[in-house]
């Protein structure tokens, strides 16, 4: 069913536009995920063909990197920092709150497709711990109350 959900021609265009770069595979995977929100498993043969790699090699790269995903994300992706600086300022309690509030664990998406939750190991916002990133916006000094406010209006930005 995923076959119909993404546009093969736009993926072909991304591959064609980047395949001559040295070390083109990561730029291509970023291009596809930027366009579609994920790298569809059935796009792997197209990528493999474009770069003259085996499908196993392409799959191996996609699955190695935490950032690439092979299923469509929810409308908003929440990255919660699990690293030491955030832990020193209460990230473990925040994590419990977030999982309870959303009713999902890491790498899952809420049933209404609103939110996906991913762990992240450092957003570089350690002087404002604990931190989360919602889509492309980093938010610092997050309390459970602040988290609830942010997800009530996730498009507004930091």
């Amino acid at each position: 069913m995923t076959e119909q959900q993404w546009d093969r021609e736009s993926v072909r265009a991304i591959i064609a536009g980047l395949q001559d770069k040295p070390g083109a595979l990561l730029p291509i995977l970023h291009g596809i995920q930027d366009a579609l929100g994920y790298v569809p498993p059935d796009s792997v043969p197209l990528i493999a063909e474009g770069l003259n790699l085996s499908r196993a090699e392409v799959h191996g790269v996609i699955s190695f990197y935490h950032y690439f995903r092979q299923t469509p994300p929810g409308r908003h992706t929440i990255h919660l920092c699990r690293a030491e600086s955030c832990k020193s300022m209460g990230a473990d309690a925040l994590e419990t709150h977030v999982k309870t509030r959303l009713g999902i664990d890491y790498h899952e998406t809420t049933p209404d497709q609103a939110f996906s939750l991913e762990p992240v190991y450092c957003l570089g916002n350690c002087a404002c711990s604990p931190s989360i990133m919602v889509d492309h916006d980093v938010h610092g000094r997050i309390t459970p109350e602040r988290f609830d406010e942010i997800i009530a209006n996730p498009g507004v930005g930091a």
Partner: protein
């Protein structure tokens, strides 16, 4: 006269609402029919004062912070555009003690200039290092860097000049300059601040490195977690190309250097230099065996300089003011300055650039202001997730590579994360192992399997299952990881684990016999 107002575009400032404050200032100025010129600068690094708004006055910049949207109208009422008093007024920015006592060489322009304005960069001594390097022989540039005593700001602290000399002396048709901008250590953010706050200094440093060894292509391998840095770097690179500071025939010198940003994809191990090179080549980031060194056989099999952001960003001032100028800061074999990052449970977290030799205690209390929670600081992790935890008895250690090594600790990238007395150090040790298990590239057995077993063994210890026997097993396992891993990920995970156990045995429920051992 149009007043100039500065509000950072730094992502930590943005994470605290700087964008909303900038919009509110514009709107309030328009409502009052006042013309203001808003400059989006980098951050001064005083994050407890962000969003920090500065106003240019005849007597220098005056700082107000932390400014929230609700404060904006009152600031106008108080006459902040003329630098008048207000409860949020911090006085002249340069006189704030946190900033005034620093020794900013690499960060000289961060927070001051518009990061993507080439004119502003040039007006603040930018590109003077490159102009000098263009008149020098490659070996003379390398000598200048060697003379400065600059050491890599990664874990190994390898002398930069020696690395560059190896690349210079290795003949090849193509050489590369690779910037390791995959700063994934918790508690570090100085790379991000440079790339967001003064991207030209990194571009200039890489261009000089290219001239020094005859490399014509550079790559910045950037963490995907840093979207604002990505944008700032690309804007600056484009401006540098347009003005002839990058590309063909740089400033009419006949020398070429191209530069491109490549994004990583959330793999911590790609901060290890050989994993990074694999990733740049489009592969899984598996660590490579060394030798051969990347300086001899690096990216695409060619001689490659691979340095961290701060190392490369320190090169322009070394070329501008001379290796001796830089070397005269610091102590022992740790020369120059270290951008120290204060994070975690501190009242005044932020960026402090000081000559090597300042003590951890001065950093934690004189600058950091003690813990944010007001409780005693119990443990401090220095040097990222693979760095040791230091107890209060070691806070008088000077920040110096050798002094830290003598304590079986690392200075690494200069990240300092403070914990108050509510921390459970057995949990932090377990997290160290868990992090290694999640992030291991899987190539070598001690790291791949040792980290998973490490989590299990710590769980047994904390659940009181054959505690003494399992503590012995944990030490044995750490020994195997230390000595048998291919890279620093597996090889240094024992630092946080064993330091937690050695300094805080009570958190592991260790018996008196274990403490004595």
């Amino acid at each position: 006269m149009t007043a100039t107002v500065y509000i950072p575009r730094d992502s930590s400032a943005l994470s605290l609402g700087a964008e909303r404050v900038a919009n509110a200032l514009q709107a309030e100025a328009a409502r009052r029919n006042i013309a203001i010129d808003v400059v989006r600068n980098g951050s001064r690094g005083m994050y407890w004062l962000e969003p920090l708004v500065e106003v240019a006055t005849p007597n220098g910049r005056v700082a107000y912070g932390p400014v929230n949207v609700g404060d904006v109208a009152a600031l106008f009422d108080a006459g902040f555009l003329q630098g008048h008093p207000h409860p949020l007024c911090q006085g002249p920015t340069d006189e704030i003690p946190y900033l005034k006592q620093q020794e900013r060489l690499t960060f000289a322009r961060v927070g001051i200039t518009d990061p993507v304005s080439l004119d502003d960069y040039l007006a603040h001594e930018g590109y003077r290092g490159l102009r000098r390097a263009l008149d020098m022989a490659p070996a003379a540039i390398v000598d200048e860097v060697a003379q400065s005593g600059l050491r890599g700001r990664g874990g190994a602290a390898f002398p930069t000049g020696i690395k560059w000399r190896t690349v210079l002396n290795t003949p090849a048709g193509q050489k590369y300059i690779v910037c390791n901008a995959d700063e994934g250590d918790s508690g570090t953010f100085s790379d991000r601040m440079i790339m967001e706050g003064d991207p030209f200094v990194l571009i200039e440093g890489m261009t000089i490195a290219g001239l020094a060894v005859g490399a014509t292509q550079g790559y910045i391998y950037l963490r995907v977690e840093y979207p604002h840095a990505h944008r700032a770097l690309n804007e600056a690179i484009q401006a540098a190309y347009q003005a002839g500071y990058l590309g063909r025939d740089i400033l009419g010198s006949g020398k070429d250097f191209d530069l491109e940003v490549r994004l990583g994809a959330g793999a911590y191990v790609c901060g290890e230099e050989t994993s990074l090179l694999e990733s740049l080549e489009g592969k899984r980031g598996l660590v490579r065996f060394k030798p051969p060194l990347p300086a001899i056989k690096g990216l695409f099999g060619q001689p490659t300089i691979i340095n961290n952001v701060i190392s490369l960003a320190s090169v322009p001032i070394i070329l501008d003011k001379g290796g001796d100028y830089y070397r005269d800061f610091g102590m022992g074999r740790s020369r120059g300055t270290l951008p120290i990052q204060l994070a975690g449970n501190l009242k005044h977290p932020g960026l402090v650039e000081k000559a090597f030799g300042v003590t951890l205690r001065e950093i934690l209390y004189d600058y950091g202001g003690g813990s944010a929670t007001g409780r005693p600081i119990r443990a401090v992790q220095v040097g990222g997730p693979l760095g040791a935890y230091l107890p209060e008895s070691q806070f008088d250690t000077p920040l110096d590579y050798e002094a830290f090594a003598a304590l079986w600790a690392v200075l690494g990238h200069g990240g300092v994360v403070a914990f108050d007395d509510s921390v459970d150090m057995s949990k932090m040790a377990r997290y160290g192992m868990e992090f290694c298990a999640v992030e291991s590239c899987g190539k070598c057995t001690p790291c791949r399997i040792g980290s998973t077993r490490g989590v299990e063994v710590i769980d047994k210890v904390t659940h009181g299952v054959e505690r003494d026997k399992n503590l012995k097993l944990l030490r044995d396992l750490c020994d195997t990881m230390l000595n048998g891993s291919l890279c620093a990920l597996g090889g240094m995970t024992p630092y946080p684990v064993l330091s937690a156990l050695n300094h805080f045995p009570e958190d592991f429920g260790a018996s008196a016999t274990e403490k004595a051992a």
